[in-house]
Every structure is written in structure tokens, then in C-alpha cells.
């Protein structure tokens, strides 16, 4: 028997380069479970991809509608961007009683959204990251920064929260200006940032989008030499694009200590496991299947109550590659504490508590400094 799980991500549109690695992560978990043959007595989990475009709420809604009513999926990994995720949740998932676990929608607004207990996310809300980022910067003795953010709810939410936290802690933000992703040229933005000045530039953007272009320009034109890099900026591309040119720059991303990340990386085949939110996507898919097992059914309205249980303590910690074991334990009625690739710990209304990995660029490589 087949169980279908939707993978509803933005395969086309501005984040098209991130989506494949995320989808691969989610599908890896499904493959692992299928191969273990232990889910609900040996069902096959079939991923069904759906394209949400990131920016077109109507298209995303239609996609979710198709996944649920046409494909008959029993759970959805997605959406990808916060706005589009809200639309799918409100218009399709809730009315149809479908569980959605987003690996990457990080807008704080989703925290308070009414969801009937159907929505979870394996990425933390941006509200927390901004606090951590402010602390790290101040600890380095940098008291004045310029901020540029990608002009969407993620970037703006992060930048505004950061400005509030940083100013409250005594820092000075010289300018807090957006940049649009995918635009032809960033000379104007760089000019403004340079004029405003500051000891470092906080780039709350995406590494394969405007974020890199801004760093490139700022670097070449000699406007800034130290950059602060939150989650969207930390990826393989960062090393590839800049190498040792940005040595000394630093940042943080939702990520956890422990073996999860490494194990996930070791399992990855044919995609970039360090790609942003790839591990989170693995975890999202894993959580759906584990909750099904715990509830003994694929009915979303039933297993939705089990998601928090399998994700959190008490129970046996589960890392990537151990899904078979977890299914066995659950089948035996035992508790598990899913850790996964991103040290999953769901709090409050079902979002990741968020540990953050602090990184620094050293010799052209992303170097882990510690966790907080």
C-alpha cells in the first residue's frame, strides 16, 4: 500500500535554486522509511512534488488543493516561503484537516496564526535569531552596523527585530534598508549603505540572491570588509563565491550541535546537505511519518496530536538514519525524542525552539565557533 506525502516547495520562482536540495532532503527521509518497511506494517511512502512559486499565493493554493484532493496526500512538507505557506494553510490545509510541516517558513507572524493544531515548522521563528545575532555582534565589540535585508517578510522581520534588539542592547544601526532579490543591479543600495557607514554590514538576505550581490559590490568597492551573516546567507555558495575574501565575517543559523547534522550529511546523495533548510526538510518529512506511526493511522486529524510527542522528550533520541529504529520503537509503544538533522525541539504552537550555530569565515571556509 502507498502513502503519499506532498512536498510543496517553490521549485520555480525566486528561490528555485534552494528548493531542490530541500525536496531531496524530505524525499531522503521518505526513502529511508520505505526501505525500512516498518511504517504502519510496511507501507511505501511516495513523495509528490508540488510547485508553490514562493510568491503566487493563488498558485500555491491550487497546488495544495491538488496535492490533497487529487493526489490524496496524507501530509505536506511545506510551504517554503512564509507568505505562500500562510495561504496554503488557511485555504486548503485547515479546511481539509491536513497536516503541514514547513521546513523553512520563519516569519514570526506564523507563530500566532490559528491552525487547528495542523501546522508545525522545523525552523525557528526569526524573532529569536535576531536576539542571538545582536548578542554575537556586540560580543565582538562592534557597536555600529549597517543592515540590508531582502525585502520580504523573512528579511524585514529579521532586520526589524534585529534593529530593536541591537539598539536596546546599546548598538547603533546606521541604516536599515531593503534590497529586492533578483534585480538587475545593486549599485544604488551599495552606495547608500556605504554612505551610511558602520563597522560591519548585516546582510539579512539569501546567499544565492541579492545577498551575495550586495556583498560582492560592497567588497569590491571597498565599502565594507566585515559581514554579519544570518541563516539565509550561510550555504555552500558563500564559500564558493567569496572564499577567503570575507575572512573574519561571522554569523549564525538555526542549527544544532550533535551528530545529527553530520549524519545527515553523510547520508546525502546527489544533493547539497548543507543547503539551507535541507536538513529541516528531512526532519519535517520524518516528523509526519513518525507521528503517523505513533497514531497508528495516516489520518491527519488524528496524527496531528502526535507530532509534538514524537518530536520532544521524553524518549529515545533519534538521529537521521535511525528512522527504522524509531518506527520500531513507536510500534512497540515506546516514546521517542526525534532529534534529526536540525536538533528538533518543538515549542509553543509547534515551532522549532531553535539552537543556533555560530560561525565564522576562516581561510575561506565556514567555521563553526560554537552553539547557543
Amino acid at each position: 500500500e502507498d502513502v503519499k506525502i506532498g512536498v510543496s516547495l517553490a521549485f520555480t520562482g525566486p528561490l528555485e535554486s534552494m528548493a531542490p536540495h530541500m525536496a531531496a532532503g524530505a524525499e531522503l527521509a521518505m526513502k529511508e522509511v520505505t526501505e525500512s518497511g516498518k511504517l504502519l506494517g510496511g507501507v511505501t511512502v511516495v513523495p509528490v512534488r508540488g510547485d508553490t512559486t514562493c510568491i503566487d499565493a493563488a498558485a500555491a493554493t491550487a497546488t495544495a488543493e491538488r496535492l490533497i484532493t487529487v493526489e490524496g496526500v496524507k501530509g505536506i512538507v511545506g510551504g517554503m516561503c512564509s507568505g505562500e505557506t500562510g495561504a496554503q494553510l488557511e485555504n486548503v490545509a485547515m479546511p481539509n484537516g491536513m497536516v503541514m510541516i514547513s521546513p523553512s517558513a520563519t516569519s514570526p507572524a506564523l507563530t500566532s496564526k490559528e491552525d487547528n493544531g495542523l501546522f508545525f515548522r522545523t525552523a525557528p521563528s526569526d524573532a529569536r535569531q535576531s536576539e542571538v545575532m545582536a548578542d554575537i555582534i556586540l560580543e565582538k565589540g562592534i557597536s555600529s552596523v549597517a543592515v540590508t535585508y531582502t525585502n520580504n517578510d523573512y528579511g524585514k522581520g529579521l532586520a526589524d527585530a534585529f534593529e530593536a534588539a541591537y539598539t536596546a542592547k546599546g548598538g547603533k544601526v546606521t541604516i536599515n534598508a531593503p534590497h529586492e532579490d533578483g534585480k538587475a543591479d545593486y549599485a544604488a543600495e551599495i552606495g547608500a549603505l556605504a554612505a551610511a557607514g558602520g563597522d560591519a554590514l548585516v546582510v539579512a538576505g539569501y546567499v544565492d540572491q541579492g545577498g551575495s550581490a550586495i556583498i560582492r559590490g560592497a567588497l569590491d568597492q571597498g565599502a565594507f570588509s566585515t559581514f554579519v551573516l544570518p541563516d539565509g546567507m550561510v550555504g555552500a555558495k558563500l564559500e564558493e563565491n567569496f572564499g577567503s575574501e570575507i575572512d573574519g565575517s561571522f554569523g549564525q543559523l538555526p542549527d544544532s550541535m550533535g551528530d545529527g547534522k553530520a549524519k545527515f550529511a553523510a547520508m546525502a546523495d546527489g544533493f547539497d546537505p548543507t543547503g539551507a533548510y535541507s536538513g529541516e526538510a528531512y526532519d519535517a518529512a520524518a516528523l509526519i511519518m513518525l507521528a503517523m506511526q505513533a497514531a497508528g493511522t495516516t489520518d491527519a486529524n488524528v496524527y496531528k496530536d502526535k507530532v509534538m510527542d514524537v518530536a520532544n522528550a521524553p524518549g529515545e533520541p533519534i538521529l537521521p538514519g535511525e528512522l527504522g529504529k524509531a518506527l520500531e520503537l513507536l510500534a512497540a509503544g515506546q516514546d521517542i525524542d526525534y532529534q534529526g538533522a536540525s536538533s528538533v525541539e518543538l515549542i509553543g504552537p509547534g515551532e522549532s525552539a531553535g539552537t543556533f550555530r555560530e560561525i565564522e569565515m576562516k581561510d575561506g571556509k565556514v567555521d563553526t565557533v560554537g552553539y547557543r
Binding site: F11, T12, E16, A19, P20, R49, G50, D51, I55, D56, A57, A58, A59, T61, A62, T63, E65, R66, I68, T69, V70, S82, G83, E84, G86, A87, E90, N91, M94, P95, N96, G97, S107, P108, A109, T111, S112, K113, E114, N116, A127, N151, N152, D153, G155, K156, G157, D160, A161, P178, G270
Partner: protein, 443 residues
């Protein structure tokens, strides 16, 4: 000549019959394959698309106005449900609302003054006086405006941070959406309608971008990129979870042999279909009557040859303005409807590819100048846009099925998502190939 015309009209009859058969057939197939929810979901957006296409057809098909700023009018219309139906943000009005209103008034006054100065002031002083008035006006505007905005945006930024709306029924937002778009169209038309063809196109494209930029960056108004969630549904559409909890409903659904989830989701969609269908029918009726009247004849004359129409006593400028406002209002109306269907307003989602060019594709594929053509184009292209998402990867699977496994195959499979655009493009090219003046041409 006469032979020519009868064969043409027979041809048209055939086309209408075909379309009248094919569209319902697609709907039924969709219903059978995907169930009522999928079919109705596509239909509802199809109806809104049809209305949008009707609005564009009004401007292009009737009057030859090349408006590529549709996205701006749709976005403005989308603002209406926010302003009308969202609850007012507590304290926002007193914190900064007054200031903002005052600032806007000051801004308008400054512009009015500048216009007056431009008219009255003698020759050379004008060159200095007008910019002075404008710059001073802008400075005063910012002085009043900025603190107000800051105060409003400070109120619980992660949830509100904007003025909010008036807490009125969402249905009222529809006419307001039309009115907002019409107002903007008036202002734009007054300045830009002197431009022709592609020049008007790019000017309107720019204006559309500017409107979207404002909605995206003025958080006090629309929450900007932070989006507005939870916009109430229009009367009489209920929320599924509410009726799913309603015992009477569950019973009635059971009576029909339906489970409550399906029953509720279908009911909601049907209600939307009813609302949108009613609006579309009303608009079609008005458009058809207008087109088949001396008014329509005059518009076509203007479209055909402006110079000559002016020499025949038609006030081309005024008529252009009229139809520009009407068409934009229809787009605004559809924009408001769209947002009340989505339940949220995402300003950054208004991108021209989706909300301008796709609409244009609908109009042209349907057949410009023909109202029914626009409706058909709207529904059909929306259908394809949605289906291409499924067909694309399926086709890719087919193509690669016989390939030996390897880098190429996996590379192609990984890119399967892009087949969506390929399929869309091919369908578009093919349709226009066999029907260059649209499925239902003007005549």
C-alpha cells in the same frame, strides 16, 4: 465578398459551439479525475481571471489602450478588503492615524498649489516657483508624516503595525476596490493617456510597479512585505471548520452521503462560485450591451483611427479616459475579489509576469475585442497555468522513461519542475498559431 462573410460567420458559429463544449468538458473531466474541490478551485480562480481579462479587453479590445500596469490596479483593488474588512488596530488611529491623514491632506494641498502656481504664475517665475512649492510641500509632508508612521508601525509590529481596517463586511470592499483602482486610473489617465502603443505600455508598467512598491513599503497602510493575514470572508461564505463543527450541517451532509470535510469545502467553493459567477454575468451583460451600441461603435472608431475619429467630432481624450477608468475599475474589483478568496494580502506577490502578462495572454488567446473571448481565455489559460504544473513533470517522466539511468536522466528529472513553463509556453504558441486572432476573434 458576401460569400466571404457567410463562411466567416459559419466559422464563428463553429468556434462558439466548440468552446461551449470543450470548457464544460474540461471541468467535468477535472471533477471526475480530481474531485469537486480541485475542479471548483480552478473554476473560481478562472472566473476571477475572466473578470480581469474582461477589464483588460475593455481597454485594449475596445479602445486600443496598451495598459501593462494591470498588476498595479489589481493590487490596489486588493488593498480594499484590508481597509474595509480588517479590524481596526487598537490605538493606531490615535497614535498616528490622525497625523498620517493630515500629512496626506497636506501633500494633496501642496500638489494642488503647485498646479495652481503653474497655471497662474507668469513665465519665468514658474520655473522656480513650482519646484519650490513642491519641495517645500514634500518637506512639510514628511515632517508630519514620518512620526505618524513610526508611531503606527511601533504597535505590536509582528502582528499588526498598521492602521488596520474598518471592520466592515468584506463584500463592501469589492466596490471600494473598483473605486480605488478607478481613482488611480483617473490620475494616471490624466497624465499618461497622451502616449501611444508601447510607450503607454511602458509608462503604465512603471506606474503598476510604483503602486506595488508603495503597497510593499508603506507598512502603516498594508503591512508591506509582512502581509496581512486573516481577512474575513465575504458574506455568505462560512469557514469550513465552523460548519464542520455544526451538527446540523454534518447531518445534512450525511443525508447527501458526504463526509463533512468534503461537504464543507465544496459548499464554500460553490458559494464563491456563485458570488464570482454573479459578478461576471453582470459585467458581461454590461460589456456586451456597451459594445453593441453606438458607444461601442464610437470606441472602435477611436481604436481604428484616432485622428479621423477626432475629426468626426469624437472627444478622443475623454473617451480614452473613460474606458481606462472603467477597465481599471474592473481589474480593481477583481483584485478585491481575489483577496477575499485568498484571505490574505501579500503585496510582494504582485509580480507583473503573473498579474499583467498572464492576463494579457488570456485576452489575446481568447480573442481581443470579444467579451466572450476574454471569458474563455481567462478560464482556459488559468486552467492551463495550473495544469502545466502537473503535466510538465509528467511529460518529463515520459521523456526520460526510456533513457538509461545516468547523469543526463537524473539531471533532467531534477529539472522537471521547469517543464511547467515549457508546457505553458508551448501551449500558448500552439494556440496562437492556429488562431492568431484568438479563439473567439472579434469578428
Amino acid at each position: 465578398m458576401s460569400g466571404n462573410r457567410t463562411s466567416a460567420s459559419q466559422n464563428m458559429g463553429l468556434r462558439y459551439t466548440l468552446v461551449a463544449l470543450v470548457l464544460p468538458a474540461l471541468f467535468i473531466i477535472e471533477w471526475i479525475n480530481g474531485g469537486p474541490n480541485a475542479a471548483l478551485g480552478i473554476l473560481n480562480m478562472g472566473l476571477i481571471s475572466a473578470i480581469l481579462a474582461l477589464g483588460v479587453n475593455l481597454q485594449w479590445g475596445y479602445a486600443g489602450l496598451f495598459n501593462v500596469g494591470i498588476v498595479g490596479f489589481i493590487a490596489l483593488g486588493g488593498l480594499a478588503p484590508v481597509l474595509v474588512a480588517m479590524p481596526p488596530t487598537e490605538g493606531a488611529m490615535s497614535a498616528g492615524g490622525g497625523r498620517i491623514a493630515l500629512a496626506l491632506l497636506a501633500g494633496i494641498a501642496a500638489i494642488a498649489l503647485a498646479i495652481a502656481v503653474n497655471r497662474k504664475a507668469p513665465g519665468k517665475t514658474r520655473i522656480i516657483a513650482v519646484p519650490t512649492v513642491l519641495i517645500a510641500g514634500f518637506a512639510i509632508f514628511r515632517m508630519i508624516f514620518d512620526p505618524g508612521v513610526e508611531a503606527v508601525q511601533a504597535i505590536n509590529p509582528s502582528a499588526t503595525g498598521f492602521l488596520g481596517g474598518m471592520g466592515l463586511p468584506t463584500l463592501l470592499a469589492w466596490p471600494l476596490g473598483a473605486a480605488l483602482a478607478a481613482g488611480a486610473a483617473w490620475a494616471i489617465g490624466k497624465t499618461a493617456l497622451g502616449l501611444r502603443s508601447d510607450y503607454l505600455a511602458i509608462a503604465t508598467l512603471g506606474i503598476g510597479e510604483i503602486i506595488v512598491a508603495v503597497l510593499k513599503n508603506e507598512e502603516w497602510l498594508s503591512r508591506g512585505v509582512m502581509n496581512v493575514n486573516g481577512i474575513p470572508r465575504p458574506w455568505p461564505v462560512p469557514y469550513e471548520i465552523d460548519i464542520q463543527a455544526d451538527a446540523a450541517f454534518i447531518e445534512r451532509a450525511a443525508g447527501l452521503g458526504l463526509d463533512p470535510v468534503t461537504a464543507s469545502t465544496v459548499l464554500v467553493k460553490l458559494l464563491y462560485t456563485g458570488l464570482f459567477g454573479a459578478v461576471l454575468l453582470a459585467l458581461i451583460w454590461l460589456s456586451q450591451r456597451a459594445l453593441n451600441s453606438p458607444w461601442g461603435r464610437m470606441m472602435r472608431a477611436i481604436r481604428d483611427n484616432e485622428i479621423s475619429a477626432a475629426a468626426m467630432g469624437k472627444d478622443v481624450t475623454r473617451r480614452h479616459l473613460q474606458i481606462f477608468i472603467l477597465g481599471s475599475a474592473v481589474c480593481g474589483l477583481a483584485g478585491a475579489m481575489l483577496i477575499s478568496l485568498d484571505g490574505q494580502m501579500i503585496p510582494s506577490g504582485y509580480n507583473p509576469l503573473r498579474y499583467t502578462f498572464l492576463i494579457w495572454v488570456m485576452v489575446i488567446v481568447g480573442g481581443s475585442g470579444n467579451n466572450w473571448g476574454s471569458v474563455v481565455g481567462g478560464v482556459l489559460i488559468w486552467y492551463l497555468w495550473i495544469k502545466a504544473e502537473v503535466w510538465g513533470p509528467q511529460i518529463m517522466d515520459l521523456v526520460t522513461a526510456s533513457m538509461p539511468p545516468g547523469d543526463l536522466k537524473s539531471h533532467l528529472l531534477d529539472s522537471a519542475a521547469h517543464m511547467r513553463l515549457l508546457v505553458m509556453g508551448l501551449v500558448l504558441i500552439l494556440m496562437l498559431r492556429f488562431s492568431p486572432s484568438g479563439l473567439l476573434p472579434e469578428r
